[in-house]
């Protein structure tokens, strides 16, 4: 046993670790190792002393402020220093409430007379895709569809708005699900079949539960709009990732138009949800603001995402600014097996990310 062999164990000893008996024996009898041990212990004490001094200097840390407290403080201060009679102030507030209620009723009525239902769908584990508008007047804009993984199942659904009766609409819901372990299937017949499926009445404003065997309960929520929304604001939200009529370019040549796959516009603000671009026979790209294991960093310049993968340069050009960040992470999985056959050679979906270790995420499937 040499001192060099024992040195790392001396360090481990300082951390409260157990060490092999032979090494412990050597350290007990070796003057050089004893000196090293004493040095490490002295340094440890000095570091803790220095840390304690620095912490003492940091005692005047700013307080974590809560918005609720600010509001309460403002209200209490205002109430205490009010210069008009409190009764008059009360009447004023009551008037505002009455007027606001009237406005709310008017707004609700306006919504009931809308022509578009904005549908949001959630599965057992969270949102499925982005909100989807369905028109009661334009049959070409009366359908929402989604496909992806829900737990260990593949799920595809098509929802068609069939008719309207006052404040409610009749939906035709078709679903297809199967275990991912059973391997890929061809979805052409499902995609091309225009049968409405199960018919259910849906009233926007009231959640609708819909059970899918082996997958769980889907929850639909909706609201009335006056028109089919075109885009959000120019400025993306804090966690928003969005695409508007995107084109994928490979080595500066158009590789695919993703517009039809996303219905023109796609937006999500769940940071754990990644955008996935599937390429028939060539795997998939997974895009997220979270660092994904094995991903490359992509540069984001407003509405353009640029990255290198598999020896090629790729650009995803969107009609709207993509996100607030100036970079995204892109994982290219060339051997990813699609569990379905797409009509187009390229398509968009999403995948939930889970944390595999601190600071690193992986697609759930």
């Amino acid at each position: 046993m040499s001192c060099n062999d024992a040195a790392e164990y001396v360090s481990a000893l300082c951390d409260g670790e157990m060490i092999p008996p032979a090494v412990a024996q050597h350290i007990a009898t070796c003057p050089e190792c004893q000196v090293r041990l004493n040095d490490y212990l002295a340094l440890s004490v000095e570091l803790r002393r220095a840390g304690s001094l620095e912490l003492a200097g940091a005692a005047s840390s700013p307080h974590w402020t809560k918005p609720q407290n600010r509001v309460a403080t403002w209200w209490q201060k205002g109430w205490g220093t009010m210069r008009i009679p409190k009764l008059a102030f009360g009447v004023l507030i009551a008037g505002v409430v009455v007027l606001a209620s009237a406005l709310a009723v008017t707004k609700a009525r306006a919504h009931n007379t809308g022509t578009v239902v904005l549908l949001s769908t959630a599965g057992p584990n969270g949102p499925l895709g982005a909100d989807c508008p369905m028109s009661t007047q334009d049959n070409s804009k009366a359908m929402c569809s989604w496909y992806g993984h829900v737990g260990s199942q593949f799920l595809a659904y098509k929802i068609r708005l069939l008719s309207r009766d006052g404040g409610r609409v009749l939906l035709g819901i078709r679903t297809l699900s199967y275990p991912l372990s059973s391997g890929p299937r061809n979805l052409s017949s499902f995609a091309n079949d225009n049968e409405p499926g199960k018919k259910v009445w849906f009233e926007p404003g009231k959640p609708l539960k819909f059970d899918v065997p082996d997958v769980g309960t889907l929850t639909f929520k909706g609201q009335w709009l006056d028109r089919v929304p075109i885009l959000g604001t120019l400025d993306p939200g804090p966690n928003e990732l969005r695409l508007g009529r995107p084109l994928l370019l490979k080595d500066n040549v158009v590789f695919g138009d993703l517009s039809s796959s996303i219905g023109g516009y796609y937006s999500q603000d769940d940071p754990d949800l990644a955008i996935v671009i599937y390429v028939q026979g060539q795997g998939r790209f997974v895009l997220s603001e979270l660092p994904i294991k094995g991903a490359v960093e992509a540069q984001v310049a407003m509405s353009r995402i640029s990255f290198e993968a598999a020896g090629h340069s790729w650009q995803l050009v969107s009609g709207v600014p993509v996100c607030r960040s100036n970079h995204l992470w892109v994982l290219y999985q060339p051997h990813y097996q699609l569990h379905f056959t797409m009509k187009e050679h390229i398509g968009v979906g999403n995948a939930r990310l889970v944390q595999s270790k601190p600071g690193l995420w992986v697609p759930q499937d």
Binding site: A7, E8, S11, A12, C14, D15, E17, R36, D39, Y40, L43, S44, E46, L47, R48, R49, A50, G51, L53, E54, L55, G57, A58, A59, S61, H63, W64, K66, Q68, P271, D272, Q355, K357, P358, G359, L360
Partner: protein, 175 residues
């Protein structure tokens, strides 16, 4: 561990008081840690705010199975500091500019010696010796395999010992 879970349940449920008390307890430690990584006081404040805000808004990103909230906090602060460096200095290598820590105020030769180590060694030693993080927590914070932590700590201690000896010789052996 049970207390950590209870605390995190409160934070996940939007309990601002719970988060506030956790902030008061941990913020001074994070501030000192970031000073060693960044040096610049304004940068430290910016990164502190970003780190705590992110955790407050997305507490579900922390997985209690992987470690303690405190270790998660230091890991998050370290990543935010790296982001700050990348945005402002064009490099995410923490400590590429030597941090400015007032060692005269601290009054310790060991702090001066520490500043001569690589950023990774500084971080490792600070979190182990001052913050008392375990090997598992260090692996979580620094994204290192668990088996690497012990050897890295040894290398860091040895580097600090060498610098410390040189400094002592120059100062005539004064500790």
């Amino acid at each position: 561990m049970a207390d950590d879970r209870k605390l995190w349940n409160r934070i996940e449920n939007g309990d601002a008081d719970g988060f506030d008390s956790w902030y008061r307890e941990t913020a001074p430690h994070v501030r000192v840690f970031l000073r060693h990584l960044l040096g610049d006081e304004q940068a430290v404040e910016d990164v502190m705010q970003e780190t705590f805000t992110q955790i407050w808004h997305h507490p579900h990103r922390f997985n209690p199975e992987l470690g303690s909230p405190r270790a998660y906090l230091f890991g998050a602060a370290r990543r935010q500091a790296a982001d700050w460096k990348r945005k402002h200095k064009g490099s995410d290598e923490l400590g590429s500019d030597p941090p400015v820590v007032n060692h005269l105020e601290i009054g310790s030769m060991v702090s001066e010696a520490l500043s001569h180590l690589t950023p990774d060694h500084q971080t490792l030693l600070w979190l182990r010796e001052v913050e008392g993080q375990s090997y598992e927590e260090l692996a979580m914070i620094l994204d290192l395999p668990l088996g690497t932590v012990r050897s890295r700590l040894f290398a860091a201690r040895e580097a600090l010992r060498t610098v410390w000896h040189v400094a002592r010789q120059h100062s005539g052996g004064r500790p």
